[in-house]
């Protein structure tokens, strides 16, 4: 019986789900509500300079990359399964597109993180 390659995607999906459960609502709250309204956190908490410092720090780079990579793969597998549940049995075509996007997003994030120095 042929071994499935699903464990690779599932492991990324699982790690992404864990990370999403832990930090996603907080991230949405901070970046979408608390900082933009400037009431709960100072409006310059996410200023360009501060964010640049974060992206230049080694741990900061790793954290940002992991968030992008794992969230993309988590969302990807969810979308892939949802297509299947909705009756689109797209097979490997949709898989290639969805996870291709996840890989491209990860590469883009990595390149950007390296580019900021």
């Amino acid at each position: 019986m042929k071994r499935s390659n699903a464990p690779v995607f599932w492991a990324l999906f699982g790690a992404g789900g864990m990370l999403a459960a832990l930090i996603a609502p907080m991230l949405v709250f901070i970046t979408g509500v608390a900082v933009p309204t400037g009431r709960l956190l100072p409006a310059d908490a996410m200023s360009y300079e501060r964010m640049l410092t974060l992206a230049r720090n080694g741990f900061g780079k790793l954290a940002l990359l992991l968030v992008v990579l794992l969230f993309m793969f988590h969302g990807g597998l969810r979308m892939y399964h949802s297509l299947h549940h909705l009756g689109f049995h797209t097979g490997s075509g949709a898989k290639a597109v969805i996870f291709g996007i996840a890989v491209l997003a990860t590469i883009a994030a990595a390149v950007a993180l390296l580019a900021v120095g």
């Binding site: 019986m1 499935s4 699903a6 464990p7 549940h85 049995h89």
Partner: protein, 252 residues
């Protein structure tokens, strides 16, 4: 308390593959008392109204697993479901989803019995066989606790009727068979995990599941097959990556 007799409409799917081109529905008015199960309603129809209605049953107490059917669209044991809970509405009874119909409410379980069940080797495969004189394989209550709820499966197939994946592609091993796989894998007396792993690792093994979870919701015995599938996804993922560390790779 005097039993009051009420009447409920039961609509049954009728289908004889030998003579009918498509299933149809037939409605019966069934008098019932508060303590009557849906199965007793069906028995009333068969005894008093229409002897040609076919359905399976045996124990009438949620043990034999033969009376499963779709009751108002939900897979349930008809002996474990009460008519009073549907009154004054009506009841629609259909054979379990995702299986071929043999006659009326009786489905053909061949795929499960002949293919799915044997494939997971649902029996203890001891490390070394032991002569009778050496006594039994002992087990502590704690060890038994690890698999006990999986062993409560009565093969009623409600979980297969609930599983959209099995409905889309019946090659998927499915909830109850994977729960039984885990029942033996988790048994301290068993050493057959490696032999069951190839199936678990395949696309039609645990990876056919997209974790809908409805199987565990409909299971009348608290088996929680979705949990068994998830435990085996973890095991299969470990196996996937650890084989790169094993000296002889995929050969266990």
């Amino acid at each position: 308390m005097a039993e009051t007799l009420r009447t409920i409409e039961i609509e049954c799917l009728r289908f004889n593959p030998e003579s009918d081109t498509a299933p149809s529905y037939q409605t019966y008015s069934v008098p019932f008392t508060d303590d009557m199960s849906v199965l007793q309603g069906l028995q009333y129809i068969k005894d008093e109204l229409d002897g040609s209605l076919s359905f399976r049953w045996s124990c009438r107490m949620a043990i034999c697993g033969s009376c499963g059917s779709m009751i108002n669209g939900v897979p349930q044991l008809s002996c474990h479901t009460f008519l009073r809970d549907y009154h004054p509405g009506k009841l629609r009874i259909e054979p379990l989803n995702h299986f071929p119909i043999l006659r009326d409410l009786a489905i053909d379980q061949t795929d499960f019995v002949r293919n799915k069940l044997p494939a997971v080797k649902p029996y203890i495969i001891p490390k070394e066989s032991q002569a009778l004189a050496q006594g039994e394989f002992l087990q502590t209550p704690r060890e038994m606790h690890k698999y006990y709820h999986y062993s409560e499966c009565i093969n009623c197939l409600l979980c297969y009727a609930a599983c959209p994946q099995y409905g889309l592609d019946s090659k998927f091993t499915g909830p109850a068979a994977i729960a039984l796989m885990q029942r033996y894998n988790a048994d301290s007396r068993d050493a057959g995990r490696a032999q069951r792993m190839d199936l678990a690792n395949s696309d039609h093994g645990v990876w056919g599941c997209t974790l809908v979870g409805y199987c565990s919701e409909v299971c009348p015995k608290g088996v929680d097959p979705a949990h068994a599938v998830n435990q085996n996804k973890v095991a299969s993922t470990l196996d996937y990556f650890l084989r790169f560390l094993r000296p002889n790779g995929d050969k266990r």
